[in-house]
C-alpha cells in the first residue's frame, strides 16, 4: 500500500529540507561576473574539510505561531557523504544521511525510519546538493540548484534556488553564509513564507 510511502516521503521531505538547512549548500551558477573565481575558491576551501562537528541553534518562524520555535543540538559531517543532525532540545531526534540511506530516529511517532534516497528523487536531489556543497562538488550542485554568490572571501553568502519544480514546491530558497571554509548560518525559506534560521556555533575544529 502506498500510504506508508506517502507518509515517509512527506516526512523525509521535511527532514531533508531541515537538513539542507544545516550543512551548507553551494552552487556554481554564478550570478555576478567576478565572483566566479571566488565561488571556486570557496568550494575548494570546503573540499579541504574532511570532518567537522558543531553545536547549532535553530529558530523557526511559522505564520501560525505568534512566537518562534527554538531547537538546538549537534551537527556532524564526515567526508564525503555522512551527515548527522542530532537535536537535543526540546525533544531528542536524530537524523542521519549516510551514502544512499536516510534514517530518522526518535521522530514524532517514536519510530525509526530508514529509506533509500534513490527511491525519492526530490529528497535525493536535496541531500546530494548538501553533500556536494560540503564536499565542494560544484558540478553536482549546479545540477540541482541555481546558485548565486554574494560577497566574496572571506565572508560569503550562497543563494540556492531549486531547479526541480517538485523541490520548488517545498523550498523557495536556501541561503548559506559562511566565512572561509566554515558555515555560519543556514536560512531556509519555505514556499509559503515560513522560514527557519540555523546558526552554527563556533566549536572545536
Amino acid at each position: 500500500m502506498r500510504w506508508k510511502a506517502e507518509f515517509i516521503l512527506a516526512l523525509i521531505g521535511a527532514a531533508a529540507v531541515l537538513f539542507l538547512a544545516l550543512p551548507a549548500r553551494a552552487d556554481n551558477t554564478v550570478g555576478h561576473a567576478g565572483s566566479d573565481a571566488d565561488l571556486r575558491r570557496i568550494m575548494l576551501d570546503l573540499q579541504s574539510v574532511k570532518q567537522s562537528q558543531a553545536k547549532f541553534v535553530e529558530r523557526k518562524y511559522l505564520h501560525m505561531l505568534n512566537q518562534p520555535l527554538d531547537s538546538s543540538g549537534t551537527l556532524i559531517y564526515v567526508a564525503p557523504d555522512h551527515l548527522e543532525k542530532n537535536t537535543e532540545q526540546p525533544k531528542p531526534e536524530r537524523l542521519v544521511v549516510d551514502h544512499e540511506s536516510l534514517v530518522i530516529e526518535g521522530g514524532p511517532d517514536g519510530q525509526n525510519r530508514t529509506m533509500a534516497l534513490p527511491d525519492y528523487p526530490e529528497i535525493g536531489a536535496i541531500v546530494e546538493g548538501i553533500r556536494a556543497t560540503l564536499a565542494g562538488d560544484s558540478e553536482t550542485l549546479s545540477r540541482y540548484y541555481a546558485v548565486s554568490l554574494q560577497g566574496g572571501l572571506p565572508a560569503w553568502t550562497l543563494s540556492l534556488q531549486p531547479r526541480d519544480p517538485k523541490v520548488q514546491a517545498m523550498v523557495n530558497e536556501i541561503r548559506i553564509s559562511g566565512r572561509n571554509d566554515r558555515i555560519d548560518t543556514i536560512e531556509t525559506i519555505e514556499t509559503g513564507g515560513d522560514r527557519s534560521v540555523m546558526t552554527v556555533l563556533p566549536d572545536r575544529p
Binding site: A10, M64, D119
Partner: protein, 787 residues
C-alpha cells in the same frame, strides 16, 4: 447384409446422431476451478471463490525490462497513464503519485468518520490541549513540514491516524518515482482488472491493452527498442492455460491420432480398415463427451484432451479383433473366441475408472465418466457393429516378418522371471525407503500453470515485496452491517495481538467502510460547534498558536457531525473501493468479511485468542495450509478409491476365473508394472500427484488386457492354438505400440495433468506388456515350436 446387422448399424447410427446433437449443445469450459475440489465447508468455499474471482485473482503483475532504469521509468509512467484512462482497469499502481489523489481526498474528507480515535472525550479541552502540545512538538521536529499544511484543519491528527492504520504494508523499491525490482532491472506495475481472473476472454483483452500501451510508450521513448513486457497473475494464467489446453489437448490429441492412424495404415495397408479401426474410438469419444455434458452440465477442455486416453485403450479392441482373425476366416468366428477376454478387460478397466468417478474432484470425476462410457461404447461397437461392417474376406494382417521375432522374444521372456522378481523387489524397497516423500502434497502441483510461469510469478512477487497472504480471518454474518461491525470487534482483538508481536499487521474492510453504528458513534463524539469552539479556546489558552488558526478545523468537524453516513458507493472512483470489494463479500444471503493477516508469528495463539473472545462465526484460514490439506484429503481419498478399484478388479477376476493361480497370472504383471513405474517416476526425481494416480489406473486398465490375453489358453488343435497365439501376441504388440504413441505424445505437454498421465501410462504400458510376457505360464506347444 443380414437383418440383424442392419438393425445394429441402425441403432449405432441413431445413437451417433443423438450424441452429436447433445455435443453440439454442450458448453465447453477451460475454467480451472473445475479441477479444484468441490468445497464442503464454508471456509473452503471462500477459499476456492477467492482463488476464482477474488480481488487477488484480478491482479496482473507487470514488469518492463531490457532497458536502462532511466528508460524504464518513463515507460512505466506512460503505460500507467494510458491504462488509468481505460475502464477495463480498476487500478494501476506503479509507484508514482497519480491515481492516489482520489484516495487521499476521500480519506481526508471523511477523516472524522474513518478515524478509530474519534471517541467521546476526544475533543474535550484537555484532550485538545494535549493534541496541540503534540502539534507544537511536531512543528519543531523534522516532520514539521508534513503537518504544517493540514494542521489548521486537523489539529488532532485524524488523517495521520487513518493513514497510520495502513502502515506497515510492504512496498517495492522505487527509482525515479516508480516501482523497480531491487536490482533496478525491471520496472514494476500492479494492475487490477475489472474482469475476474477466470474470465480468460476479458483477461486476454486486458493483456492486449497493456501490451498496446507499452508499444505506444516505446514509440515516444528513445532507447526503448528492446524493452519488453512480462506479465503474471491469475488472469494471465487463465489466458495461458486456455491457450495451452487448446494447443496441447487438441494438437496433441490430433498428433497422437495421426501417429496411431499412420501406424495402423502401415500395418493394414487399407484406408477402409483404418477407418473401421478408429470407428470404436470415435464413437466412444463422442458418447463419452455427450455423457459428461449430460452429467456435469459442461465439458472441460482437459477432459476433451483425454480423447487421447481412449485412443490409447479403445483402439486396441479393433486391433485385437482384426489381428486375431486369421486371413479368410470371418470375424464372427474370432469374436466368440476373444469376446470373453475383451469383456473382462473392459470390466477391469471400468473397475479402475470407477475410482475416479467417485472422486470429489469434479475434473477427475469427469475424466472417469468419460473413460467408462467411452470404453464400454467402444467395446460394444467392436463387438456388435464392426463385424456387421466388415466384408467377409477383409484384409487382415498377413503373416509378417516380425511375427516370428516377436514370438521368439515372447517365449524367451520367461527366462527373465527371476531378474524381474529382483527388479520388483528393488523398486518396492526404493518406494518403501522414499515412503514419506513420495507425494507432492501441495495444491500447486495440480496447477496447470507451467513451472516456468510459476517461477516468474514468484520472482515478480518477490520484486514487489508482496508475498502471498497466507493467513486470513473470515467473519461470517447475515448482513453487510453485521459483517462490518464484527470485523471492527475482531480488528480490535487483532490490534492487541499486533501489539504483543503475535503478528505484524492486518487489513480489515471496516478501515475502508466503518459500520454505520461506528460512524454514528463517531459523529456523536464530535461536540456541537459552539461547545467545540469553547473547548478549543480553553485548550488554546497560553499556547503560541495564533488566534483563528483552527477555524478550518471547527468547520470540518461541524460538517462531519451532520454529513451523510458513508456506504459502499461513497468509495466509488477510489482504489479503496476495489480493496473493500475484495474484503467484504456477498455470498448468497450471507456476507463475509475478510481480514488478511500479515507476518503471523504464532497462529496457534491467534486461534486460541479468537476462540476465547467468544465472537462467533470467525474462521482463521491458512490459505496455503488449508488448501494443501484440502488437496491431501482428496489425494488420499483418490488413493483409497484406487485401492478399492484394485480390490474390485481382483474380485472380478476371481469371480471369472475361480482360480487363484489364474488371478495371479493377471494381477502379478499389473502389480509389478505399477510398482516399477512408480519407482521409475520417483527415481527420475518427480513427486507423485493425483494425476500420476490416474495414470496408474489407466495402466491397470490397458495392462489388464495384455495380461488377460497372455493368460488365455485356447483349446483345439495344437497348430491352431499356436497360430492363434502368434496372432494374439502380435496384436498385443501392435496395441501396445498404439498406446505408447498415444500417451508418449502427451508427455510433451506443458500441462502437468497431461504430462503426468502421459508419462505414467507410456512407461506403465510397455512394462505391463513385457511383464505379462515374462510372467506368462509356460507354453507347452510354443516353447517347443520356438526352437
Amino acid at each position: 447384409m443380414s437383418r440383424k446387422n442392419l438393425f445394429r448399424i441402425g441403432v449405432w447410427l441413431a445413437g451417433v446422431v443423438v450424441c452429436i446433437a447433445i455435443v453440439a449443445e454442450s458448453r465447453f469450459s477451460a475454467d480451472l476451478s473445475t479441477f479444484l475440489p468441490r468445497s464442503p465447508s464454508a471456509a473452503q468455499e471462500i477459499l476456492v471463490q477467492q482463488l476464482r474471482d477474488g480481488v487477488v485473482s484480478r491482479l496482473i503483475l507487470v514488469a518492463i525490462e531490457d532497458a536502462p532504469p532511466s528508460v524504464l521509468a518513463p515507460l512505466s509512467k506512460s503505460v500507467a497513464a494510458q491504462l488509468r484512462a481505460a475502464p477495463d482497469f480498476v487500478s494501476v499502481n506503479n509507484g508514482d503519485d497519480q491515481g492516489l489523489a482520489k484516495d487521499r481526498d476521500f480519506l481526508w474528507r471523511n477523516r472524522y468518520l474513518l478515524s478509530p480515535d474519534v471517541a467521546p472525550g476526544h475533543f474535550a479541552p484537555d484532550a485538545l490541549r494535549r493534541a496541540l502540545d503534540n502539534d507544537l512538538q511536531m512543528l519543531g521536529s523534522a516532520a514539521g513540514g508534513l503537518i504544517k499544511a493540514t494542521l489548521p484543519a486537523d489539529p488532532t491528527g485524524e488523517m495521520l491516524h487513518v493513514i497510520g492504520q495502513f502502515q506497515g504494508e510492504e512496498r517495492p523499491a522505487a527509482r525515479d518515482g516508480v516501482w523497480f525490482s531491487p536490482d533496478g532491472s525491471r520496472a514494476l506495475l500492479v494492475i487490477q482488472t475489472s474482469a475476474p481472473g477466470f474470465d480468460a476472454d476479458a483477461q486476454q483483452h486486458d493483456l492486449l491493452l497493456i501490451d498496446n500501451a507499452l508499444q505506444s510508450a516505446k514509440q515516444a521513448t528513445p532507447g526503448s527498442q528492446d524493452a519488453r513486457l512480462l506479465a503474471s497473475g491469475p488472469g494471465v494464467f487463465s489466458v495461458r492455460i486456455r491457450d495451452q489446453v487448446k494447443q496441447d489437448a487438441f494438437r496433441l490429441s490430433i498428433l497422437a491420432t495421426l501417429a496411431v492412424a499412420g501406424l495402423l495404415l502401415l500395418v493394414y495397408r487399407s484406408p477402409v480398415m483404418l477407418g473401421l479401426a478408429l470407428l470404436p474410438v470415435a464413437t466412444g469419444a463422442l458418447v463419452g463427451i455427450a455423457a459428461v455434458s449430460l452429467g456435469f452440465g459442461s465439458v472441460h477442455g482437459i477432459t476433451l484432451g483425454f480423447g487421447v486416453t481412449l485412443i490409447g485403450e479403445a483402439v486396441d479392441y479393433a486391433i485385437y479383433l482384426f489381428t486375431q482373425t486369421a486371413p479368410g476366416s470371418p470375424p464372427e468366428e474370432t469374436l466368440p473366441r476373444i469376446w470373453p477376454t475383451l469383456r473382462l478387460g473392459v470390466l477391469t478397466s471400468v473397475c479402475g475408472f470407477s475410482a475416479m468417478l467417485l472422486s470429489s474432484f469434479r475434473g477427475l470425476a469427469q475424466l472417469g465418466l468419460f473413460s467408462i462410457v467411452g470404453l464400454i461404447v467402444a467395446v460394444s461397437v467392436t463387438r456388435w457393429v464392426l463385424p456387421a461392417l466388415l466384408r467377409k474376406d477383409f484384409a487382415t494382417l498377413r503373416s509378417t516378418l516380425f511375427g516370428p521375432v516377436i514370438m521368439r522374444l515372447a517365449t524367451r521372456a520367461r527366462a527373465l522371471r527371476y531378474p524381474l522378481l529382483v527388479l520388483v523387489l528393488a523398486a518396492a524397497s526404493l518406494l518403501a525407503f522414499r515412503h514419506g516423500d513420495l507425494w507432492d502434497d501441495e495444491l500447486s502441483s495440480l496447477s496447470p500453470v507451467s513451472r516456468h510461469d510459476q517461477q516468474l510469478d514468484q520472482e515478480l512477487r518477490r520484486d514487489l515485496g508482496a508475498p502471498d497472504v497466507r493467513y486470513m480471518a473470515v467473519v461470517n454474518a447475515p448482513d453487510e452491517q453485521q459483517a462490518l461491525a464484527s470485523s471492527e470487534a475482531l480488528g480490535a482483538l487483532i490490534e492487541r495481538m499486533v501489539g504483543e508481536g503475535v503478528l505484524a499487521g492486518f487489513d480489515s474492510p471496516s478501515r475502508y467502510l466503518p459500520s454505520a453504528a461506528a460512524q454514528r458513534a463517531r459523529q456523536a463524539a464530535i461536540p456541537e460547534e459552539a461547545s467545540l469552539r469553547a473547548n478549543l479556546l480553553q485548550a488554546l489558552a497560553g499556547s503560541p498558536f495564533r488566534a483563528g488558526t483552527f477555524e478550518p478545523f471547527l468547520a470540518d468537524a461541524a460538517a462531519a457531525k451532520t454529513q451523510p453516513l458513508l456506504d459502499r458507493d461513497s468509495l466509488n472512483g477510489t482504489n479503496l473501493a476495489a480493496k473493500l470489494d475484495g474484503l467484504l463479500i456477498r455470498r448468497g444471503e450471507d456476507w463475509a468479511a475478510l481480514l488478511p493477516l500479515r507476518g503471523v508469528a504464532d497462529a496457534d495463539r491467534l486461534k486460541a485468542e479468537i476462540a476465547a473472545s467468544g465472537q462467533g462465526g470467525i474462521l482463521l484460514l491458512d490459505l496455503k495450509g488449508d488448501s494443501d490439506r484440502l488437496y491431501q484429503t482428496y489425494r488420499r481419498q483418490a488413493f483409497l478409491l484406487a485401492l478399492l478399484g484394485a480390490l474390485a478388479i481382483a474380485v472380478l477376476l476371481f469371480l471369472s476365473f475361480r482360480s487363484p493361480r489364474r488371478v495371479f497370472a493377471v494381477i502379478g504383471p499389473l502389480a509389478a508394472s505399477v510398482i516399477v513405474t512408480v519407482a521409475l517416476l520417483t527415481a527420475a526425481g518427480d513427486k507423485l500427484s493425483i494425476f500420476n494416480l490416474v495414470g496408474l489406473l489407466l495402466v491397470v486398465g490397458v495392462g489388464s488386457n495384455y495380461a488377460l490375453f497372455f493368460e488365455r489358453r485356447d483349446s483345439g488343435g495344437e497348430l491352431g492354438a499356436l497360430q492363434h497365439r502368434e496372432r494374439i501376441i502380435i496384436s498385443l504388440a501392435l496395441a501396445n505400440l498404439c498406446t505408447v504413441i498415444g500417451f508418449g505424445v502427451l508427455t510433451f505437454s506443458r500441462i502437468p495433468v497431461l504430462h503426468g498421465i502421459g508419462m505414467t501410462v507410456a512407461i506403465g504400458a510397455i512394462l505391463s506388456l513385457v511383464f505379462s510376457a515374462i510372467l506368462s505360464a509356460p507354453e507347452d506347444g510354443a516353447s517347443r515350436a520356438g526352437f
